[in-house]
Subunit: 256 residues, 2 copies
């Protein structure tokens, strides 16, 4: 992956216009964002069992729980108070300003709607190693990259509104027991497009060379791969019988 980013960054060529850069980013999302992943297609077709939705909610909680840590690492890269004021909204959105109102708490409520208890979710015991490694790769990408690339890695939010909108419709239709657990997604319908617009403006304004523009595109590709790999791990472990790795969550229906 690092190898691929480097190869991209080596490309020369003239500076892309903002419209060309946006079109390249859009093309990455259309071909690599996880709206195309087989596990999401199964979810939206109503094919998942309650145990599979539990596994998804439990594993994705690890990702949700790391988002404000990612954003804190990103904040620490900026020496501009105005940038930090704008970006810290994301930490507020996930952590809330009182118990029960942030995105992390709302994700726990979604997990509870699948039938898990809060105490099963919060310790992250039983999360798939493949999910942990992918999420930790996101933290490392943000921690070890310049601010421009760290911001670019958030650009998957450009594509999340339509996925979330579809998902809410399909979850309500196929899994009615989840209906009281959807407030996380309601919040993201407005938060994600606002955040994406800010990040897109930022990378268009601050990628000053073609090489930096290619690094921005490469960061979005890598972030798409990070989201995709989480679903690979979940689909592998919980859709094909016999594949749950040692030490990981076992839905009640799978216990012998």
């Amino acid at each position: 992956m690092a190898t691929q980013l480097t190869a991209k960054a080596r490309e020369g060529g003239s500076l892309l216009s903002p419209e060309e850069l946006r079109a390249r980013l859009q093309a990455v999302g259309e071909s690599r964002y996880h709206h195309l992943h087989p596990f999401h297609l199964r979810m939206h077709a109503g094919e998942l069992t309650r145990g599979q939705l539990q596994a998804w909610a439990l594993n994705r909680y690890y990702y949700q729980s790391r988002i404000p840590i990612k954003d804190s690492l990103l904040l620490a890269k900026s020496d501009d108070p105005a940038f930090r004021r704008a970006w810290r909204k994301r930490i507020l959105d996930h952590d809330g300003d009182q118990s029960g109102y942030g995105g992390i708490e709302k994700w726990i409520q979604l997990a509870e709607a699948t039938g898990l208890s809060r105490d099963q979710v919060i310790p992250c015991t039983g999360v798939l190693p493949g999910v942990i490694f992918a999420v930790d790769a996101y933290l490392a990408l943000v921690r070890d990259s310049p601010l421009l690339i760290a911001v670019a890695s958030s650009l998957t939010e450009l594509f999340s509104r339509s996925l979330i909108s579809l998902r809410m419709d399909q979850l309500r239709l196929h899994y009615p027991y989840l209906v009281h657990g959807l407030s996380y997604f309601e919040g993201r319908l407005t938060q994600a497009p606002e955040d994406a617009a800010f990040a897109l403006d930022y990378v268009c304004a601050h990628a000053a060379t073609r090489a930096e523009q290619e690094q921005v595109i490469g960061a979005l590709e890598r972030k798409c791969a990070i989201l995709w790999a989480q679903l690979d791990a979940i689909d592998y472990a919980y859709v094909v019988p016999g594949n749950i790795p040692p030490g990981c969550f076992v839905p009640d229906a799978e216990r012998g």
Copy 2:
């Protein structure tokens, strides 16, 4: 995973004897080492296609190529010339002292025996993100942990000799076109047990508290999960049709 290590480390209790510590480590290997992984079981039963073996050799090359980097990070943690003299053997084993004689070169020869060209393998283009994230988690574990834990993470070598021995027999039997690509494994039959004995003596001598002993066991569990997750990603992408993630290696037989 970090959460699980911490939970283990919190356990109190009295110091384990060397025999008890060895028995705990042995039990981890028996239940979590990747000799039990479905992809290896398929390999040893002769069920893999040439394209699947290509995918395995290509992806595992990323792991092989990172081993001397991991060992260099580990060397840098020690201020003891005697330790560094003993450990640097591992870098020599993988890099060789002339072209063509190290483990990395031998792995390329294995990949060539599957039908890949050297130029397809070395750039690591098309390696699964799930494999990259798992291997990078190994580098991060070694880089970010004390020397004792970094050494403990190598203890999977305690279990590799019997797996390699079985694998060589089964590869010769089921995939005769690989017969001239097995010199990597021949070397590891003697290298791995020597290395494992050194590392086991080291952790038995240097884990001075029960908490450190539990961290040693936790590091072996995590390393088992790192090996297991690589095979999860390979098995998911290349055994079930339609699952190859965007941008990853496609065997010739899979091309439309």
